[in-house]
C-alpha cells in the first residue's frame, strides 16, 4: 500500500505542477495523470480491479438514483463525479444558446439604461447583477459579457473601467458561492454529499448575501472618487439601444424561458427529486431542440476541454482517496484541531482560501471533499458545517489574486485586450482585502450559527 500511496501523491503533485507551469493544455495533463493513476496505482501497485471500477464510476450513471432521487440519496464521492460533468455540460449548452440570442448583452445594456448611464448607480447595479447571474450561470460567461459591456460603456461615458471590472469579478465569485450550481466547487461538494440547491441557498447563500452587502459598501468606499471623476460631456446618442443586442427575437424569448425553467428546476430539485445530472441533461436537450439547425453549432461551442479536465482530475483524486492519503490528511486536521469544531472550521476555511487564491480551486475542492467526509465521520462533527466552510473558503479565496479563479483571468483579460492592463499590484491592492474581509466574516457567521 505504501508504494501505491507514494505513487498516488507523486502523480497528484506532478499534475499540479504541470497545471501551474501551463506548457501543456490542462485537460491532457489531468487525463494522462488519471490514466497513470489507473495503471500504476490501482493496477501495478494495488492489483485492484474494484478500485479502478469505483474510480471510473460508470455504473452509477445507469442507476435510477443518478437521475431521480426520491428523498436525498447521497451520491458516491469516490472517483469521477459524472453528475457534476453532465450538469456543467448541460449548463454550457444552455448558456451558449442564451449568448447566441444576445441575452447577456441585452441585460447589461437594459440595466445600464435603467440607471440612466450614471457611473455610481451603474457600478452598484453591475456588482449586484454579477452576483445574481453567477448564482445560476458560470462566472466565466457572466464576466465575459459584463466586462465587455463595462469597457464599451467606459469608453463612451469616459470613466476608468478597471474598478468596475474588479468589483464585478469579486461579486461573480461571491454570487457563485451562494448556490449549488454557481461555482464548480459547490457542484462537486453538493453532488458528492447529496446536498440540495435549497441547502446551499439557506446556508452559503445567506453568508454570500451578507458578504455582498459588505463588499458593495467596501468597493464603493474604495472606488467612489475614481468613478466620480468621469462624467465629461457625453454623447448619449452614441450608446447602443438594449434592443440592438437581441440577434433574434424568437431565440431570445426561448432562451429566457429555458433559463427560467432551469432556475425553477434547480430551486425545487429537492422537492421534485430530480438530480442536477437530470436537470443538466434536460436543459441541454431542450436548448438543442429549440435551436434547430444551429444545434450542431451550439454543441461545437461546448468547452469539452474543461469537461475532460474534470474527468482526469477526478481520477487522480480517486487515487488519493483509494490509497487512504485523504484519510491521513483528515486525521492530521483532526489531530491538530483536537476535535474542536471551531478550530477545524478555521483551519479549513483559511487553508481553502489561501490555496484557492493561488491554485485552481476545482482540484482543491475535489480533493477536500473526501477529507471533510472523513473528518466528520471520525471526529463526530456535522458534515454540512464543514461543507459550507469548504465552499466559502474555496469560492471566496479564489478572488484574492488574478489567477485564483477563472472569472478573474477572464475579467483581467477582457480589460487588457481593450488597453486597460491590470497587473498583480493593481488587482490585489483592492480585491485581496475584500477577500480577507469576506472570508473572516464567513468564518464568524459559521461560528455563530453552527458551532
Amino acid at each position: 500500500m505504501l508504494i501505491a500511496q507514494i505513487l498516488a501523491v507523486l502523480i497528484f503533485v506532478v499534475m499540479f505542477l504541470l497545471i501551474v507551469i501551463d506548457k501543456i493544455e490542462r485537460q491532457y495533463i489531468t487525463l494522462a495523470c488519471g490514466l497513470l493513476t489507473l495503471i500504476l496505482v490501482f493496477g501495478a501497485a494495488m492489483h485492484s480491479v474494484p478500485a479502478i471500477l469505483e474510480t471510473l464510476n460508470v455504473r452509477g450513471i445507469f442507476t435510477p438514483g443518478f437521475w431521480y432521487a426520491a428523498g436525498q440519496a447521497e451520491e458516491s464521492s469516490s472517483g469521477i463525479n459524472w453528475a457534476t460533468i453532465i450538469f456543467i455540460a448541460g449548463m454550457m449548452v444552455m448558456v451558449e444558446g442564451m449568448a447566441k440570442a444576445g441575452f447577456f448583452r441585452w441585460l447589461c445594456m437594459r440595466l445600464a439604461k435603467l440607471v440612466h448611464y450614471k457611473t455610481i448607480p451603474l457600478f452598484i447595479t453591475f456588482m449586484v447583477m454579477s452576483a445574481i447571474l453567477a448564482m445560476f450561470i458560470d462566472s466565466i460567461t457572466v464576466i465575459l459579457f459584463l466586462a465587455a459591456v463595462t469597457v464599451e460603456l467606459a469608453k463612451l461615458l469616459r470613466f476608468d473601467p478597471v474598478p468596475m471590472i474588479l468589483s464585478e469579478v469579486f461579486c461573480a465569485n461571491l454570487g457563485g458561492s451562494a448556490t449549488m450550481c454557481g461555482d464548480p466547487p459547490n457542484i462537486i461538494v453538493g453532488t458528492s454529499l447529496g446536498l440540495s440547491f435549497a441547502d446551499f441557498l439557506t446556508n452559503t447563500g445567506l453568508i454570500a448575501g451578507i458578504g455582498l452587502i459588505l463588499v458593495v459598501a467596501y468597493f464603493f468606499l474604495v472606488y467612489h472618487k475614481e468613478l466620480a471623476a468621469g462624467g465629461e460631456e457625453i454623447d448619449f446618442s452614441a450608446i447602443p439601444d438594449p434592443s440592438e443586442a437581441i440577434t433574434n427575437k424568437r431565440d431570445f424569448i426561448i432562451s429566457c424561458i429555458i433559463f427560467g425553467c432551469a432556475v425553477a428546476m434547480l430551486v425545487t430539485h429537492a422537492q421534485t427529486g430530480l438530480t442536477v445530472a437530470f436537470i443538466g441533461l434536460v436543459i441541454a436537450i431542450v436548448t438543442l431542440a429549440a435551436s434547430g439547425k444551429y444545434a450542431l453549432e451550439l454543441l461545437k461551442k461546448v468547452d469539452y476541454k474543461t469537461l475532460l479536465f474534470f474527468i482526469g482530475l477526478f481520477m487522480v483524486v480517486g487515487g488519493l482517496e483509494q490509497t487512504g492519503i485523504l484519510e491521513l490528511i483528515a486525521g492530521f486536521i483532526g489531530k491538530i484541531s483536537g476535535g474542536n469544531i471551531k478550530t477545524m472550521v478555521a483551519i479549513i476555511i483559511w487553508i481553502s482560501a489561501i490555496a484557492s487564491a493561488f491554485v485552481d480551486n476545482i482540484p482543491f475542492a475535489a480533493t477536500m471533499v473526501p477529507v471533510i467526509k472523513n473528518l466528520a465521520a471520525t471526529q463526530g462533527v456535522d458534515l454540512q458545517v464543514l461543507a459550507w466552510t469548504l465552499s466559502m473558503g474555496t469560492d471566496i479565496g479564489g478572488s484574492a489574486t488574478p489567477i485564483g479563479a477563472s472569472a478573474n483571468v477572464v475579467g483581467t483579460s477582457v480589460a487588457a485586450k481593450n488597453g486597460y492592463p491590470i497587473g498583480w499590484g493593481k488587482y490585489c491592492k483592492t480585491v485581496a482585502p475584500a477577500t480577507i474581509i469576506v472570508v473572516a466574516v464567513s468564518m464568524l457567521i459559521i461560528f455563530v450559527r453552527y458551532c
Binding site: D22, K155, P402, I403, V409, S413, V414, A416, G419, Y420
Partner: protein, 198 residues
C-alpha cells in the same frame, strides 16, 4: 533597389550590439517606417488609452508562476501586450506597408510575408559590455549584469512566442556580428544583402 515591392526588415539583437541603431539607420537610408517601442504609442492611440499603462509590459517574458490561462484568456499582461503588437505588425504587413521593425519576435510573427528579410545582430561580449558601460556610465560588473539580464529576458520572450531558439542562425536570413564592422559598415553590408536577396 526596386522600391515598388514591399520590404519588411526584422532586426533581432543582442543587448549592447547596437542592433537598434543599425535598424534605425537602415530605415532612414531606405526611407522606410521604423517600428520599435513606438508601436505601443500607435496601439494606445488607436485604443484611446494611455500608453504609460502598456509600456512596462513591453517585450517582457511571461512569468509562468504568476499567470494562468482560461481558454483563450490569460491574466498575463506581457502576453496581451505581445499579442497586440503581433497583430499590429501583421496588419501593417498585410496592408502592403514597407517597414523596419526591431525585436517583438517579428521574424516569427511575420514569417511567410512576402518581402521579409530577417536579421540577427550579435556582438563580441567585451565590445557590447564596453558600449553599455559608456552609454549608461556603468562599471564593467554592472554593465555585464545589465547585459545578462536583458539578454535573458529577450531570450525568454522570444522562445515563448517562437518555435526556434533566440539567436539560432537557422531562424534568420542573416546573422551579423556588429563588433567587426561597427554600425555604418554593418548597415552597408545589410543593405547589400537586402538588395541581393530581393
Amino acid at each position: 533597389m526596386d522600391m515598388g515591392k514591399q520590404l519588411i526588415i526584422s532586426v533581432s539583437r543582442e543587448y549592447g550590439s547596437q542592433g537598434h541603431d543599425i535598424a534605425k539607420q537602415l530605415a532612414e537610408q531606405l526611407g522606410l517606417t521604423f517600428y520599435d517601442r513606438n508601436i505601443l504609442d500607435k496601439i494606445a492611440e488607436e485604443m484611446d488609452v494611455d500608453v504609460e499603462h502598456l509600456e512596462k509590459y513591453d517585450e517582457k517574458p511571461v512569468n509562468v508562476l504568476f499567470s494562468r490561462r482560461v481558454g483563450e484568456h490569460t491574466n498575463s499582461m506581457e502576453e496581451h501586450i505581445a499579442q497586440m503588437q503581433f497583430s499590429y505588425l501583421k496588419k501593417k504587413a498585410e496592408s502592403g506597408e514597407s517597414f523596419v521593425v526591431v525585436g517583438r519576435c517579428a521574424e516569427t510573427v511575420l514569417r511567410g510575408a512576402e518581402g521579409l528579410v530577417s536579421v540577427f545582430v550579435l556582438g563580441d561580449r567585451s565590445k557590447k559590455c564596453l558600449h553599455i558601460q559608456e552609454k549608461f556610465q556603468l562599471t564593467e560588473q554592472d554593465a555585464l549584469a545589465k547585459m545578462n539580464r536583458h539578454d535573458k529576458a529577450r531570450k525568454q520572450y522570444h522562445n515563448r512566442h517562437s518555435n526556434f531558439r533566440w539567436g539560432d542562425s537557422r531562424g534568420y536570413d542573416i546573422c551579423i556580428n556588429s563588433s567587426r564592422l561597427g554600425i555604418e559598415k554593418t548597415v552597408q553590408v545589410l543593405k547589400s544583402y537586402i538588395d541581393l536577396a530581393r
